[in-house]
Symmetry: C3
Subunit: 133 residues, 3 copies
């Protein structure tokens, strides 16, 4: 699992999410993968619930007539027992029809990435938001 | 053509454009390269016309006393018959003298990159803008 | 010194700075490293003074209740006598508690990176700001 492979993983991962492919995006998590963000009382677990959350976000964006782009950068990796821990900066650029883009959110994404049947997958994700320190 | 080489290509490519080197920038396209954006009724073709478009943009920025920075990230690549298709997110940061930067534009850049005499070149570029879906 | 190693260097370097680890950040410069920015009448030299500058910035951010994220991208490298010259775009994303992020600054970072005892270090840094051309 090298840095280039991880970059390509995140590029595909976020292009799926931003393109509205909630189900394909959820399949870049392990079957029992978890997703924890400050807005949640407890982490979401499993592809079905992760996909449901993404579908809701896709609907909200469509209702708001916005396009979102998740930018991932400054990824720092270290090997852990079952894969790689990757800590990245993320910014979400939101653009409304006919308007200038806004940086909607700056956050830090802490992932544990594992390899299953040759493919990289997110086993565990923890998001911290810069506006809620 | 690996990911690192493509990243270095885009770094040089955009630093040339943002630095105002319209002619050198146009030479990072193939001689019959094309550039298509939503604002155009048909694609621009060939280095002379691509350079002319860049020179006009450089003049406009200078008149507005702005510096532009094209950020390319989240590049997803796949091999195609004659090279590589690279789909990237692009944001343009515009800074006026004495002012805070603005994110002027968020777009998706779809390039077909080819190798000619050992160098990477853009054979075909298609831009879609997030503010004009 | 390859591109991946340089990207990992900058990821760790900026995560240290943004995380408030001024002393550890200063140790990613050579002992006699220099840092020059338009706001300075002469470059800062040496780890003690570089750390002092970072500590002041960390205090200012805390007083303003802001989180800063330094994004580095579009890094173009070339070999020089004593290492590598790396020219990058940098944007600083600043987020106040409860508020949307702002792009605080767009600048160009020109580093001379050297290897000492196996580790990459900044020997010389020159910053130019897009708002002060």
């Amino acid at each position: 699992m090298d840095s280039i492979e991880i970059q390509q993983f995140y590029a595909r991962h976020m292009q799926l999410l931003d393109g509205g492919s909630a189900r394909a995006w959820a399949r870049t998590f392990t079957p029992d993968g978890t997703f924890a963000a400050p807005s949640m009382t407890e982490p979401v677990r499993g592809r079905a619930d992760i996909a449901a959350g993404a579908r809701a976000a896709v609907r909200d964006r469509a209702a708001a007539r916005e396009t979102h782009r998740h930018w991932v950068n400054m990824t720092l990796t270290r090997e852990v027992a079952d894969g790689v821990e990757a800590v990245s900066y993320v910014q979400i650029l939101a653009t409304s029809h006919g308007a200038a883009p806004q940086v909607r959110l700056s956050c830090v994404m802490r992932d544990r990435l594992v390899r299953r049947d040759g493919r990289l997958l997110v086993a565990e994700r923890r998001i911290s938001r810069d506006d809620r320190p």
